[in-house]
Structure formats: structure tokens, C-alpha cells
């Protein structure tokens, strides 16, 4: 039986007899199994009991309501229904228009978001990496990128002999060059390499541009993983990451 299946059967109360005894024995011996069980429980509890989310919503409502008194939820719904009763024709037109817009725009939603949020990265790494002047190929590659000569930039980066200290620069600017040329999958691959280096200056920028590229090719799940990371870890992109997560959800 699969590991996860055993845990789920245990939580469902379906393990019995020897199976149950063995599972409990394994729990006592294996701290990782215990942690995994805890996570399964946490997930079930979180989905079932929306208490924190409900409380947070009420709090946000209290903070955003500027009437001085909070409106009961029923009152708000009644107000909306009353308004619709007197605005049926314009509302119908608006709703039809929105449906039409959504139908026409659905295939391009990733493109629209990408176009709204993508800004060319124009910062030069010269000010940060003092050894860069000795790496002529890398320097030339960055210059080509800044001059929007993306093919030439890529050639320079690809022939550059990568050293550990500056591999992230070449990968990051390669990623940007690919993105500018509309080669999003290749761009993502470059950004992922920078992200894997972990301590790179370009770490959060790579997460951001990788997320945008995923959005552009409509892989919203993968984009969200990067945006969640930024939401937690990045001061620069936290706000935009939060907004984009809402858009793509």
C-alpha cells in the first residue's frame, strides 16, 4: 500500500488489526511519518474549519467599512437586490457585455496580465559586481541586452565561460533576453537556474519574471508557486505578487 494511502486510511479510521498496530509502531519510530500525518491532519482541519478565514474577513470588513457602523451581511445583499430590481435592462446589458468580453478575452487572459505587469529590467549589474569589468563577454552580453539586441546578448551569454560567482548574472539576463523575444519556456529555464542558486542577488527578480512567463503561457499553477514565494520572502515584489495571485486565482 502506498505511504499516503496508509496515512489517509488511518485518518479515515479504516486501518484495523495488524495494519493499525504496524502503523502506530511506525509512527513511534519514524518522526518524518509523524510530521507527514500532522500535515494531512492540518490540511483536513484547515479546509473544514474556516474559522480563521471567516474571522479575518470580518476584520477586513470592519477595517474597510467607513460608515462608522458595520453593515450586517443580510442588509448588504438586500441593498444589492433592490438596486438590480430597478436597473434590470442596464444590468442585463452590462452582464452580457462582461460575458462577451470574458469569452473573447479568455484565451488571452495570460497575455493580458503579462502585458500589464511585464516591465523590461533595465538595471545594470555593473554597480554591484566589481569583478564584472574583467568578464568582457558577460559585460558585452549585458550591454547588448540593455540595447535591446537580444539575439546578440544570448550569443555572448552562451559563449561566456560560467564561473560560480557570476553564473547567476548570465542566466538572469539570458532569461530576460528570451522573455523579450517571446521564448517564454527558455526564459523560465534560465530563471529557474538562478533561483536554484538561492543566494543570488537576482533571486527574487527571477521568481518574479518566471511567474510572469508562466502566466504568459497560461500555466497559472506554476506561476502561483513563484508568487507565493515572493509574497512571503520579497519586499520588492510582495505587493504585486499578492495582486497577481488574486488575479490568477
Amino acid at each position: 500500500m502506498k505511504h499516503s494511502e496508509r496515512i489517509q486510511r488511518y485518518l479515515d479510521g479504516k486501518l484495523a488489526g495488524e495494519e493499525l498496530r504496524k502503523f502506530r509502531e511506525d509512527l513511534a519510530k519514524d518522526p518524518e511519518l509523524l510530521k507527514e500525518l500532522d500535515l494531512y491532519r492540518l490540511i483536513d482541519h484547515s479546509i473544514k474549519d474556516q474559522d480563521q478565514e471567516r474571522f479575518r474577513e470580518k476584520l477586513v470588513q470592519a477595517m474597510e467599512d467607513d460608515s462608522g457602523l458595520p453593515l450586517p451581511a443580510k442588509h448588504k445583499r438586500t441593498k444589492k437586490l433592490t438596486a438590480l430590481r430597478y436597473l434590470t435592462i442596464p444590468a442585463a446589458i452590462l452582464i452580457f457585455g462582461m460575458i462577451l468580453h470574458t469569452m473573447l478575452g479568455r484565451e488571452n487572459s495570460g497575455q493580458e496580465i503579462y502585458t500589464s505587469y511585464y516591465k523590461s529590467y533595465s538595471d545594470s549589474p555593473l554597480s554591484r559586481i566589481s569583478t564584472l569589468e574583467n568578464d568582457v563577454l558577460l559585460l558585452n552580453g549585458v550591454e547588448h541586452y540593455l540595447n535591446k539586441e537580444y539575439n546578440e546578448a544570448l550569443i555572448k551569454f552562451q559563449t561566456y565561460r560560467i564561473s560560480e560567482t557570476t553564473a547567476d548574472i548570465a542566466s538572469f539576463y539570458s532569461g530576460l533576453s528570451y522573455a523579450e523575444m517571446g521564448r517564454y519556456s527558455e526564459a523560465i529555464s534560465e530563471f529557474e537556474q538562478v533561483i536554484a542558486l538561492d543566494m543570488s542577488y537576482f533571486h527574487e527578480h527571477s521568481h518574479w519574471y518566471a511567474a510572469l512567463c508562466y502566466i504568459r503561457i497560461e500555466k497559472f499553477g506554476r506561476a502561483a508557486e513563484h508568487l507565493i514565494e515572493l509574497r512571503h520572502e520579497s519586499k520588492v515584489y510582495r505587493r504585486e505578487a499578492r495582486i497577481l495571485l488574486r488575479k490568477i486565482n
Partner: protein, 204 residues
């Protein structure tokens, strides 16, 4: 409206929006000022304030605590604790040249609730980005509905298929959360119990 500490905690426990509004109008400006003066933004201030109240919500659901300070002082101490943690998490060790340890308040005893809240946020963030089918099937199963009903609701062909779909979706969610560095960070923290437990003074 003037509320005692106990009334405020009671209001938090009951999720009373009038009390929440009062807390916001009475205490948020000072907290906002502190955050802005210490490298934060308006959005940071709102986030910290909300998190602090969620932590209090978790605390009062176990039991209404008694403290030796006013509610405002305690709330402020919680917000400072959260802001301090946020700075440490992103690798900062000082604010405006002042070492973070100087901001620490040993009377704040909320570590357990903090971990609980952060783990929940992480789980729900990953849950919300799942495919709609996965979200729906997981929601239905946690409600303890009969599997036959879930099978019909989801349009599945058999009970076993319904169980398998739930398992696959759950596995995927577990894997994503498990591999999230933030989850590892939260999981590795031991629960630390502070010795000083503040006691309430009643009234304001």
C-alpha cells in the same frame, strides 16, 4: 465606545464586528505609526495588525487570558513581536541601527498561536491555487459526506474512483506544502514557552 479588556476579548471570541471596528479605530493608528517608523509600509501595518488579531482570536478560543497590562499594551506588544519576526525572517538583524533583541518583549506568549496561524495561511494559499476539481473533492470529503454522495456530486463513475481522486489531490497538496521552505522553517521551530505570563488589569 469605552470597553474593558475582558469585553474586548469577549468581542473577539464572539467575532463581534462592532468590537473589531472599535479595536481598529482605537489601536491601529499607533501600530501603524510604529511600523512606518521601523521600515514598514501601510500594507505591512495592516497585515501585522490583522495577524495580531487572528493570533488573539486563536488564543481566546482556548481560554480567555488574564494579563497585567491593558489590552492596548498587549496588542502593541504582539504587533512588535510579529514585526520583529518578519525582519528576522528576511534576514535583517536591526531596525534603524537598533538590534532586534532590544524590541523583544518577554511577556508576549504567542509563539504557538503564531506557528498555528502561519501554517494555516500556507496551507490555504496552496489549496486555493489547486485545480477546481481538486478543491471541490477535498472540500466534500472533509465534510464527512457519504462517498456515494460525493461520487454523484462530482460525476465520478465509482466509489473507488472518488477515493482515488481525493488521494491524488491530497498527495499533490501535501507535496507542495512539504517542499515549501517556509513550511520547513515553521516545522523546525520548537514550541518555546515564555515563563512570564502577563495578568490583566480590568478597565481602562
Amino acid at each position: 465606545m469605552s470597553l474593558s479588556g475582558e469585553e474586548i476579548l469577549e468581542g473577539i471570541y464572539m467575532e463581534n464586528t462592532v468590537v473589531l471596528k472599535t479595536i481598529y479605530t482605537s489601536y491601529f493608528p499607533d501600530i501603524r505609526r510604529f511600523i512606518l517608523l521601523n521600515n514598514g509600509s501601510d500594507e505591512d501595518a495592516r497585515d501585522i495588525f490583522q495577524d495580531a488579531l487572528v493570533i488573539l482570536f486563536l488564543k481566546v478560543r482556548k481560554n480567555i487570558p488574564t494579563l497585567n497590562c491593558t489590552f492596548g499594551t498587549y496588542l502593541f506588544a504582539i504587533c512588535k513581536y510579529l514585526w520583529l519576526r518578519e525582519h528576522r525572517r528576511i534576514g535583517r538583524h536591526a531596525i534603524n541601527g537598533v538590534d532586534l533583541d532590544k524590541y523583544a518583549d518577554p511577556s508576549v506568549n504567542i509563539h504557538r498561536e503564531y506557528i498555528q496561524m502561519e501554517k494555516r495561511k500556507l496551507v490555504m494559499e496552496h489549496f486555493e491555487i489547486m485545480a477546481p476539481e481538486c478543491k471541490k473533492v477535498l472540500r466534500l470529503f472533509v465534510q464527512d459526506l457519504p462517498v456515494e454522495e460525493i461520487m454523484k456530486e462530482m460525476g465520478y463513475s465509482s466509489l473507488q474512483y472518488a477515493r482515488n481522486r481525493r488521494l491524488i489531490c491530497k498527495e499533490k497538496l501535501v507535496r507542495q506544502i512539504w517542499n515549501n521552505p517556509r513550511y520547513k522553517e515553521l516545522g523546525n521551530e520548537a514550541f518555546r514557552e515564555n515563563t512570564a505570563i502577563p495578568r490583566w488589569e480590568t478597565g481602562r
